[in-house]
Amino acid sequence: MSGFRWQRGDLLGVAELSTEEIVHVLDTAESFVEVAARPIKKVPTLRGKTVINLFFEASTRTRSSFEIAEKRLSADNVNFSTSGSSLSKGETLLDTTRNLEAMAPDLVVIRHAHPRVPHGLAERVGAGVVNAGDGAHEHPTQALLDAFTIRRHKGRVEGLRVAIVGDVAHSRVVRSNVLCLRKLGAEVTIAGPRTMMPEQPEALGARVAWSLEEAISGADVIMMLRVQLERQARASFPSEREYFEFFGLTAGRLQAAADDVIIMHPGPMNRGIEIASEVADGPWSVILEQVANGVAVRMAVLYLLAGVKSGEGSA
C-alpha cells in the first residue's frame, strides 16, 4: 500500500469508503490476526485511549467482538447500553451526545435502531465514530469482516459470484455487503421471498433473483441472512416450515453452487429455518471464521481511526 495514507476519522458506512480504503482495512487486519494466537493476546497500540461502546439496541456478539478488539488493543473501554432509545427515558439523543462528549472519549462505537444516527453523532462529537449497525441501513464492520473472510479463502474477491439470501428488506448486513463486495469487484445476487424484499431491490446495486435456486446457481460464496422470527407476525412469511422449504439452505440445494463454495452467516443462526445444520456445520461453512476474523477487522478499524480526529486537535 505504498503512498496510501489513512485519513478517515469515522467509519459510518461502506458507502463512503473507496476501494483503496477497503483494501487498506483488510490488509491492516491481516497483521492483527496473529494476536489471537499469542499466549498474551494484547498489543499496546491504543493504550491510554478511551472507547465507549454505545449500544441502543440489544447486541451480544457485535458488542463482544468490539469489546475484545478494544481490550486486545489495550484501550480503556466502557459499555453504555440502553434497551430502547434514550428518548424513551426523556433524554434526547443530542443530550446523550453532549454527555458523551463531556467524557472525552477517543472513539465511540454506536449501534442504534434508526438509520443514520451514527452519522449525526459523528458530526457533533470530537471522537471518532464507528457504526456498529444503524437500523437496516449499514453495518460496515460486518461487511469488512465478510470481505476479509472471503479473501482469505478465495485469495481474491474480484470476479467471485456471491449470493445473499433472506430478509433483504430489513438487513443492514446485505446493504453494507452489496456495497463492499461490488467495490471489490464481485458479482452479487440478492434473493428472498417477495415479502422480504424491498420495494425496489435493484436500487441496492445487486442482481435480483426470485428463488434460492436461481440465486445460488454457480455461486462461489453464499451468505444466508438471519430470519427475524418476530416478522412472522407481520405476514412476511406464513410459517418457518414453509420458509425452510423454499428459502432454507440444505446440502442438496448446494449442488447447484460452485464445487468450492463457502457458506457464510452473520449470526445468530436459526437452524432449520434459513440454514440446515448439515450446511452450517459442514465443510463449506466458514461461519466461525467470520466470528474470529471479526475481532481482527475491528482491531484494524479502531487502530486506523484512533487519533485521526484527535490528531486534528479538536476538543
Partner: protein, 433 residues
C-alpha cells in the same frame, strides 16, 4: 371604523373578476368599495403608492397547525398569525389537533378570541370530525359551525372507520361543511417514515407506500359519491390520488383537493440527499419524482384546487439528529408564497392568475369565507407582492416559533411585501402617505 385606504398604481391580479392589469383599490370600513383604474378616492383616504407591486386578494392558507391550545412551545395563535402575515397570508384555517382537541365550540371560541387579540391574520378554526380525534363519535358540527368553524377534519390522522366517514359526509351536508380528510390507510403506512421506493430501499428505512394514501382516497370517493357530501382531500401526495380525484370531479361529485409547496417541489431523492435530515420528514412523505411532477401538472390543469402549507411547527429539540424518532411536519407559512412565485410562476409552470386562484380565490370558495376577491363588497384583505424581490430562506428570521423547514438557504425571487387585513396594514408597516 378605520379610515379609508386607497392602493394606487399597482398591478391588480384578481381571478374572481378576471382582472390582471393596472388598477387602484379603495377600502372603506374594512371592505373593498371600488376597484378600477384611476379611482376617485375620498379626500381623507390614506394613500399607499403600490406602483411596481402586484396587488392580490389576501392569500388564504387553508391548512395550518397553530398548536394553541396545548402546544404553545411550538406555536401560538399569535406567533402563527404573525408568521402568516409575514408570509403574505391574510387568513388561515387551523386544524383541530390541539390539546385539547378542537371538538367543542368552547375551543373554537377560544381560538377566535386569541386571534382577535393578536390582531394579525384572520383565523378560521376547523372542527374535529370526531371527539378527541378518536374516530368514534361525531362532534357537534352545527354548534361548531355557529361558533365559527368552517370545515371538519381529523387531520393528523384519517377518519378510518368507513361507516363513520359515511355519516360525517352525510351529516356535514346540513351545514354545508366540507369534510377535510387526511387520507391514510394506517395498516399500509405501518411503521414507515418516508416514501417507499428506491431511496427508502437504499437507506434501509421503513417505507410508506403511495397506496397508503390512494386506498383511502378511493374509499372516500365512493362514499362521497353515495352521500352527496363535500369531500376535500388534504395534502395530496401521489399521482394516483390525483387520478382518482380527477375522475371524481369529472363524475360531477363535490370533490376538491389541496397540495403543499413541499410536495410540489421536493421528492424522496431530496430526503436521501439531505442525509435523513428530520426537517425533511412529514406526512404524507415526500413522494417520488414522478408523483411530484404529476402534482405540478395537477395544479396547472386545474385538477388540484388549492395550495396550502400544512404549516406544522415543531420545536427544534424535537427535530434533532434522528429522522426516525422525529415528529412529522414542516413549517410553511413564511416560505410558501416565495417558493410558488419563484419555482412555479417564475419557471412558467403556472401564471400569476392561477397562483392567486390556488392561494386565495379557491380557498375562500371552498371554506365559504370572506375574501378571495377585490370586487366591491369583498373583505378588505390584500396581499402586496414584489415579483423582483430576492429573498433567502432564513429559519432564524421566522416569526413562527419553529424553524423546521427543508428549504433553508433557498434563494428565491418574489416575496410578499405587505399584508392588509380588513383595511388595516398588518405587515410590515408599509410606508403610507
Amino acid at each position: 371604523m378605520s379610515a379609508a385606504l386607497v392602493l394606487r398604481g399597482g398591478r391588480v391580479v384578481d381571478p374572481s373578476q378576471g382582472l390582471d392589469g393596472a388598477a387602484d383599490v379603495l377600502i372603506e370600513d374594512g371592505a373593498v368599495t371600488a376597484c378600477g383604474a384611476g379611482l376617485e378616492a375620498p379626500e381623507e383616504a390614506r394613500r399607499m403608492d403600490v406602483s411596481g407591486l402586484v396587488v392580490t386578494p389576501g392569500l388564504i392558507d387553508m391548512h395550518v397547525h397553530l398548536r394553541e391550545p396545548g402546544q404553545e412551545y411550538k406555536e401560538t395563535v399569535e406567533s402563527g398569525t404573525c408568521a402568516a402575515a409575514a408570509g403574505g397570508f391574510t387568513a388561515v384555517a387551523c386544524m383541530p389537533n390541539t390539546e385539547p382537541v378542537n371538538d367543542d365550540p368552547s375551543i373554537t371560541e377560544f381560538i377566535l378570541a386569541r386571534a382577535a387579540r393578536a390582531g394579525r391574520a384572520r383565523v378560521y378554526p376547523i372542527s374535529a370530525v370526531t371527539r378527541g380525534l378518536e374516530g368514534r363519535e361525531l362532534t357537534e358540527f352545527g354548534a361548531q359551525r355557529r361558533a365559527g368553524a368552517v370545515a371538519v377534519s381529523d387531520d393528523g390522522r384519517p377518519v378510518w372507520n368507513a361507516a363513520l366517514m359515511r355519516q360525517a359526509l352525510r351529516y356535514a351536508r346540513h351545514f354545508d361543511l366540507p369534510v377535510i380528510q387526511h387520507a391514510e390507510e394506517l395498516e399500509l403506512s405501518g411503521d414507515g417514515v418516508m416514501h417507499e421506493g428506491a431511496f427508502s430501499t437504499r437507506l434501509g428505512v421503513e417505507g410508506i407506500p403511495g397506496a397508503a394514501d390512494d386506498v383511502m382516497v378511493g374509499r372516500d370517493l365512493i362514499l362521497t359519491a353515495d352521500t352527496g357530501g363535500r369531500y376535500h382531500l388534504a395534502h395530496m401526495s401521489t399521482a394516483r390520488s390525483l387520478e382518482l380525484i380527477r375522475g371524481a370531479k369529472e363524475g360531477g361529485h363535490r370533490v376538491t383537493s389541496e397540495v403543499s409547496a413541499h410536495h410540489l417541489l421536493l421528492c424522496d431523492e431530496d430526503v436521501f440527499d439531505s442525509g435523513l435530515d428530520p426537517d425533511f420528514r412529514m406526512h404524507p412523505p415526500l413522494r417520488s419524482a414522478d408523483d411530484r411532477d404529476a402534482l405540478v401538472a395537477g395544479i396547472a390543469d386545474g385538477s388540484i384546487d388549492a395550495i396550502a402549507s400544512d404549516h406544522a411547527p415543531h420545536h427544534p429539540d424535537e427535530k434533532e439528529l434522528d429522522f426516525v424518532a422525529a415528529p412529522n411536519g414542516v413549517v410553511g407559512l413564511e416560505t410558501t408564497l416565495s417558493l410558488c412565485l419563484d419555482r412555479l410562476v417564475g419557471k412558467g409552470v403556472i401564471d400569476l392568475t392561477r397562483l392567486v386562484e390556488l392561494l386565495s380565490t379557491a380557498p375562500a370558495r371552498l371554506l365559504g369565507i370572506p375574501g378571495g376577491s377585490l370586487a366591491p363588497g369583498a373583505a378588505g384583505d390584500v396581499t402586496l407582492i414584489d415579483l423582483e424581490r430576492e429573498v433567502e430562506v432564513d429559519p432564524a428570521a421566522f416569526r413562527s416559533r419553529s424553524r423546521n423547514t427543508p428549504f433553508a438557504g433557498w434563494k428565491l425571487r418574489g416575496a410578499p411585501v405587505g399584508t392588509i387585513v380588513g383595511g388595516r396594514v398588518i405587515e410590515p408597516g408599509w410606508r403610507i402617505t
